[in-house]
């Protein structure tokens, strides 16, 4: 038999072979505490600092400056920087027709004095009279209507998704998935508020992307929980155990997926905005990075413990303490195959994966610990027990 059946000695090796036995449920309070801290920080920051809404939401100042050989987009950018205006949220475009050739600069509103000063600076840089530089106010492009429709669509989406998850899984999972999603969005909004990043329409898209990613990730994890629930249906497994087993089983998948999702975003940050200097990519990248890390974290440390908490009061009380340590490890390894864990004792020929099978004398626990061998040798189907 391949060496995959031995328990690896190092933690990394165990992770690699899917033999981890982390008691996620036992540490759920850590996740909740962090979630509450994040929530408070976000709400606090939103109240004290608010969000820095960009040009597209609030409007701002605009200049039309005649373009020439000596004055183009880059020069306009330099003028703004010289006057202490961040070019990050600025929109600088060349607008030309047969008769006119202008550089249009739009920035967030600045005080009147600064505006006059910038007007003069533009005129000087472009080599024209101050009167030739046209200053005006510009309105938002993101009307209230867009927000209203987007919010309405989002609410309907969340309702439909809750119904979908409730049908496909169950309503507690819907609740937990939405809580995890709210957590992720709050983390990102909080980061924007704390760091004072400017919110642009692109940011809204980044928020939506994170929302979708978070739901996706949580559902992948929940699907495994659901599957294990069915697998242990015959043995009255405590829900906390099912959650722990599922978490450990999907741990490697979560790590691999996280690495694969985060590498492109880091590349966007480091190479796109760092080396190649595309500043616009930076905030996208940052929002996405924070959101994705939060999304992966929340599906393991927020959504699933919350689900276990919601479920623990449901149904019959489990008879024994939840599995930990090597017992948990054995269960994680053992149920990693498709099939159903029966309530009868395992056959004699299944080589024991369970090093620490001396946990208790309960027959059902033994069944949990050695399911793989039995599943693969097709034991007789256990008789259905009468419900008590």
């Amino acid at each position: 038999m391949s060496r995959g059946n031995q328990i690896a000695s190092s933690g990394l090796g165990r992770l690699f072979r899917g033999q981890t036995a982390v008691d996620f449920y036992g540490r759920r309070r850590i996740g909740f505490v962090i979630a509450i801290v994040v929530l408070l920080a976000t709400v606090g920051s939103l109240f004290t600092r608010g969000l820095d809404l960009g040009l597209d939401f609030e409007g701002g100042d605009a200049w039309d400056i005649p373009a020439s050989e000596i004055f183009g987009v880059d020069e306009a950018k330099a003028v703004l920087e010289d006057n202490g205006v961040s070019t990050n949220g600025a929109r600088i475009q060349r607008r030309s027709s047969d008769t006119t050739d202008l550089i249009t600069v739009q920035i967030e509103e600045v005080p009147q004095d600064n505006a006059v000063q910038i007007t003069n600076a533009f005129a000087e840089a472009a080599g024209v009279e101050t009167d030739d530089v046209n200053f005006s106010f510009t309105s938002s492009t993101w009307g209230g209507e867009i927000t209203d429709k987007a919010v309405r669509a989002l609410i309907i989406f969340l309702i439909v998704v809750s119904i979908f998850i409730s049908i496909r899984f169950e309503w507690r999972m819907a609740l937990a998935a939405l809580a995890a999603m709210a957590h992720d969005v709050l983390v990102v909004v909080g980061a924007y508020s704390l760091f004072g990043f400017e919110v642009t329409p692109g940011t809204v898209i980044a928020f939506l992307t994170i929302l979708g990613y978070s739901l996706y990730d949580t559902i992948v994890v929940f699907d495994r929980v659901r599957e294990n629930e069915g697998k242990y249906a015959g043995v009255r497994m405590p829900y906390e155990d099912i959650v722990n087993i599922s978490m450990n089983q999907v741990l490697m998948r979560s790590i691999n997926t996280s690495i694969s999702s985060i590498i492109p975003v880091i590349s966007l940050l480091l190479i796109g905005s760092g080396l190649l200097g595309a500043v616009t990519l930076r905030e996208f990248g940052l929002a996405l990075l924070i959101g994705m890390i939060s999304g992966i974290y929340s599906s393991i440390f927020v959504a699933t413990p919350l689900l276990a908490g919601l479920k623990s009061n449901v149904g019959r009380k489990a008879r024994r303490e939840r599995l930990t340590g090597d017992n948990l490890r054995a269960a994680v390894i053992g149920s990693g195959v498709t099939g159903r864990v029966g309530a009868t004792v395992g056959s004699a020929d299944g080589e024991s994966n369970a090093k620490g099978a001396s946990h208790d004398d309960d027959v059902k626990t033994a069944a949990v610990l050695e399911p793989a061998g039995r599943l693969l040798t097709h034991p007789p189907r256990p008789r259905k027990k009468k419900r008590r």
Binding site: F137, G212, Y216, T280, G285
Partner: protein, 535 residues
């Protein structure tokens, strides 16, 4: 079974490559957004005396009109005293001007006897360009909503409406103003209530302000002075309904402060007063009530007969419309709510707002990121990573083809946010392989052979991926159908990448892995850090 798997694999690859080749051959590429590629900008100047609030209202109306007419993600703002409309993906100036000529005030005028007008048709030049598809039946009747008894009123015979001029028949069309014209020149619409230039000698007109107005089907009507504007209608309330006999009707709500103006006009027409006389004889021989002409920029869009004197809250216009005609009338009634007239002044080309390098930087960074991801996956999954590389290639080609096709068909532009969204989608797509392979790893470790583990793993993986992706697809569908602007663009690309993920997962990854698992290819090779034993 084996043959079916090969068929699925090969058919998928061939179909995707063919789609990509087709798109490249027809140089069909996704339209890039304003931030990436720039576009065309049109400056709309309002008439004198427009307030800032008026302009903001016009901004929203222009944007929603543009979205309705299929120009996606325009950037509309008030700058100074003008409205600036930036259009992504539009290269042609004519097209830009045509798409923004969405304003214009709707007038409601009574239809009067043609003797009130001069014999000659007012100055509407006949050499103007065609505004596509603006053909609308001028016949119709008005009924109050919910009063089916009036719906049986037969549509008005065209000839009975008013004066028909053979010369004019061919060429009355609304047009976009000539973009090369002096920007300060007024638009070509007829000023409200202007008296015709040539007054006919006989018989003497008694109604001041009556004039001939062309109808959309090439005829002409003699219309009295404007008595109300499109502002009597509730903004954005007009909609097309399909009646029980398959006929289309347009219904629109009246604004509380506009109801009196509308009813004032309707009562005149219903009572066949001199200001709105009967214009024909009904089938039963009695005089038919008068007609109200709905006029946009001097062109009669519809002239329904008024069948009730007083309307309560809403108006329904029935007649022999085609669906297209009904849609257009509904658009006209919606746009009638423009508080001020705006005129396109000038078009300008706009450069990319995010800086020209952003797209290049995003693509380079994305490709490097992708290469790193693949390197990681090869290091981890060894030989099985071949499937991932193949699958991601097929996925990328499918996404590009779908994006090119959809953006060509719907005008949805790919903005920088969309590009980063696609980069994030790489992670979600890779996840389907990771879920699959991790599951296979578990099964093999527990003693199953690769051949046995692969189909079982796929079944459970497919369930997982399907559930998770369905949530994204639901999100994409809802956001796309209910929201506007860039949120809609996001939904579009979310939908495309997710659909392609599901497609590739089932039609490429599944056959590829199952075939590898059956073949001797993997025997003795390392995968998942396990030796694959011969089965």
């Amino acid at each position: 079974m084996k043959r079916r798997l090969w068929f699925s694999l090969i058919a998928t690859v061939v179909a995707v490559i063919a789609a990509l080749a087709g798109n490249i051959a027809t140089s069909n590429a996704p339209i890039l957004g304003l931030d990436l590629q720039g576009g065309l900008s049109v400056i709309l100047a309002p008439e004198e005396g427009a307030t800032g609030d008026d302009l903001l209202v016009v901004r929203d109306l222009v944007r929603s009109s543009l979205e309705r007419s299929g120009v996606a993600e325009p950037d509309v703002r008030v700058q100074g005293s003008n409205i600036v409309v930036d259009l992504p993906g539009v290269k042609d100036k004519e097209e830009a001007l045509r798409s923004v000529s969405v304003s214009g005030i709707v007038e409601l005028r009574a239809v009067v006897n043609f003797t009130e007008c001069s014999a000659s048709i007012p100055a509407v030049s006949t050499d103007e360009t065609i505004a596509d598809g603006r053909v609308l039946g001028s016949d119709g009747t008005i009924t109050v909503d919910g009063d089916p008894a009036d719906e049986v009123t037969p549509p008005v015979e065209e000839e009975s409406i008013g004066f028909l001029n053979d010369e004019a028949k061919t060429s009355f069309r609304r047009s976009a103003p000539d973009p090369d014209a002096d920007p300060d020149a007024p638009a070509d619409s007829d000023p409200v209530g202007e008296a015709p230039i040539d007054l006919a000698p006989t018989p003497t007109p008694t109604i001041a302000g009556a004039e001939f107005l062309p109808t959309l089907d090439g005829g002409a009507l003699c219309a009295g002075p404007s008595q109300a504007s499109g502002e009597v209608f509730e903004r954005d309330s007009a909609s097309v309904q399909l009646g029980q006999f398959g006929q289309f009707s347009v219904s629109v709500d009246l604004r509380a402060d506009g109801e009196d103006a509308w009813n004032g006009l309707a009562t005149q027409c219903f009572n066949r007063l001199a200001s709105c006389p009967s214009t024909g004889v009904d089938t039963d021989g009695s005089g038919r009530p008068g007609q109200i002409a709905i006029v946009l920029d001097g062109i009669v869009q519809s002239a329904p007969v008024v069948n009730v004197p007083v309307f309560d809250g809403s108006v329904s216009i029935t007649g022999s419309f085609t669906q297209e005609e009904a849609d257009q009338l509904s658009d006209v009634l919606n746009r009638g709510a423009f508080p001020v007239q705006v005129t396109p002044q000038e078009t300008r080309t706009v450069s990319a707002s995010a800086g020209g390098d952003s797209l290049r930087a995003a693509i380079i960074a994305g490709l490097i990121g992708l290469a790193l991801v693949l390197a990681f996956l090869v290091a981890y999954y060894r030989w099985l990573a071949l499937v991932i590389i193949g699958g991601l290639t097929v996925w990328a080609m499918a996404v590009y083809s779908a994006a090119a096709f959809v953006s060509g068909a719907t005008n949805y532009a790919l903005s920088l946010a969309g590009v980063t969204g696609i980069i994030v989608a790489i992670g979600v797509t890779v996840d389907s392989y990771v879920v699959f392979f991790e599951r296979m790893k578990d099964e093999i470790r527990n003693g199953r052979t690769l051949r046995n583990a692969a189909p079982r793993s796929f079944n459970s993986t497919w369930r997982t991926i399907w559930s998770a992706d369905l949530v994204s697809i639901i999100g994409a569908l809802i956001l796309f159908s209910l929201s506007v602007g860039s949120v809609r663009g996001f939904a579009l690309y979310l939908g495309i990448t997710t659909m392609c993920d599901l497609f590739v997962c089932f039609f490429f990854t599944r056959p590829a892995v199952l075939l590898i698992a059956r073949s001797k290819f993997m025997v003795g090779k390392r995968a998942f850090g396990l030796e694959v034993a011969s089965s």
